[in-house]
Amino acid sequence: MDKVIDFKEWMNQNFDVFEKSLNGEKSNGFHKVRKEALVRFNKLSLPTLKDEDWRYTNISPLFKYNFNVVTEQKKASDELVKKLLFDEMEAHHLVFVNGQYSAENSKLFDLPKGVIVGNILDAMKNNSELIKKHFGKYAVDQDQVFTALSTAFTKDGAFIYAPDGKVIEKPIHIIFVTSANGDKILTQPRNLFVAGKNSKVTIIEHYASEANDIYFTNSITEIVADENAIVDHIKLQEESTEAFHISRMEIDQERSSNFSSHLISRGGKISRNEFNSRFNGEGSECTLNGLFILEDNQLFDAHTMIDHAKPHCNSHEHYKGILDDKSFGVFNGKVMVRENAQKTNAFQENNNILLSDQAIVNTKPQLEIFADDVKCSHGATIGQLNDEAMFYLKARGIGDEAAKAMLIHAFAIDVITSIKSEYVKDYVEDFLAKRFNQEN
């Protein structure tokens, strides 16, 4: 095996190769942004367990690989794409294979006038004003090494723009599939979703893999929900169990906007999800719900922050973890209520269920309140399947596996039912049924 080159060193050595792969894009004005980000990437240090934000998440295994920064542009097989779509759901779908847009796999229905659903590479050419206005403005990378890495190697990602008053009826299902053929690749989807005033959009970000390969996905998603916009976001993370997934989502919420997020995570060797929402206007609402289902040696980390910067906003956060074998979970949820954010309503809860003696979860719900007229609550629980409930079900003739599956489903049900799309709900329920009740 070749000697592994230092992670940052490797990225720098490969920047030339990456630039070449950009073809004409290099001469475009945006390239300056990449180069500046590379400088910041070099200045920032890689996280270790000594960093408070990474205290429980040992990311060092990631640095043991030299990932290829240039990936092959290809089309995914129709079967693979079909497998990842929800049965019968009418949705626009954007497919990215190894981080690059695959128009051949994608399918868009008619869209309202002015609405853009596509990839960011095209948007850089055709909608440079929007890119200039929003790109990197929410996911700032001054002190975030993985964001700087993403910006430096910006290649492609999804771009959605709903102008003021536009309603995109059908959900937009964005599939990021890695088809690496055993090649250790790095893909860095860079997504930007802008929902104008009074607009409405449903977006499903779906990360998957063709095979159980080792690769690294470093994704950044920036979302703007302008005044009175409704944005429903679902993230399905079901990558290879050997994959590394680091992602950051930044949400900018203007007055009276409604943003809801559901993270369903079950893949990855190490996956880290940062979700940060900021209220920039009064009367807004934010829901951050999550369900993570882990097994073997998987590590999952959810870091969330809801910034109540303005009064009269509501936030609701509920994360649930199901951990089996030697899996390891981290939940760090912060709710910040700033001094003038009176009449804030903030609810936060994290519940975990450990199915084995060796599974571990570290949970840290945090509330920081600087206003005095607010209603906030937070809590966390870690438990096991209730033995008495197990016996009760068995005493009714229900076998061990089925009883376990029923109780796990019961544990997860409130997060699942809060998902608005019936198709996604069914998809998650099907997965749970298959995962925990194999014999049926």
């Binding site: 008495e388 016996f391 068995k394 005493a395 009714r396 029923m406």
Partner: protein, 253 residues
Amino acid sequence: MLEVINLHANVEGNEILKGINLKVNAGEIHAIMGPNGSGKSTFAQVLAGKEEYEVTDGEVIYEGKNLLDLSAEDRAREGLFLAFQYPIEIPGVSNTNLLKTALNEIRKYRGEEELDTMEFLSLIKNKMKLVELEESFLKRSVNEGFSGGEKKRNEIFQMAVLNPKLAILDETDSGLDIDALKIVANGVNQLKTKNNATIVVTHYQRLLNYIIPDFVHVLHKGKIVKSGGKELAYELEEKGYEWLKNGSEVLAD
């Protein structure tokens, strides 16, 4: 149907059952009475297969099979039913879901076809009438937020749906007002046939005014110290359990 021979069992290292002998035939109702701590509930739960309770000696033959070799779920599938003294609340699992899963697991075990939704619904709606439950009850989570009476009625409702050969009612009367008690007792009586049997575990004689036992057994310190007909229950009601403290001889014939 059931033969219990010299059954000994420990709970957390303490011997609670110290040699129980009991024989139950099809068509019979047996009442097991005794003061608190006599081992009544332990006996009921050992028969149902609670794993935490360790059987240290003796055997239990049920329908020609060694009951103690069967898992709790297989005992239920073989037709044994325990109505819990304290029915467990299971948030997120609806009554319908519990019953449908249970019924189909039992049918599968017996090599029978699973019921389709229509058949299942017509069965449960029919059985609900027996214990006077409202239909809205089906969608609610198992026992969650139920009153004491609703929980006990739910146990009898489950029993009606699962149609066991041997039902063990563990203090099904405790905490019930007289109306609820009548509903529960009426349900049990209607389910009675010459092919099934019931063991009623109770502290009080009152339930036995409504469910008339063929035999009454007195359990004390983990042993059956006295057996008789239904008149034994009246005698107990009159004398209380105080006499047990002075040794079982007092009541001996």
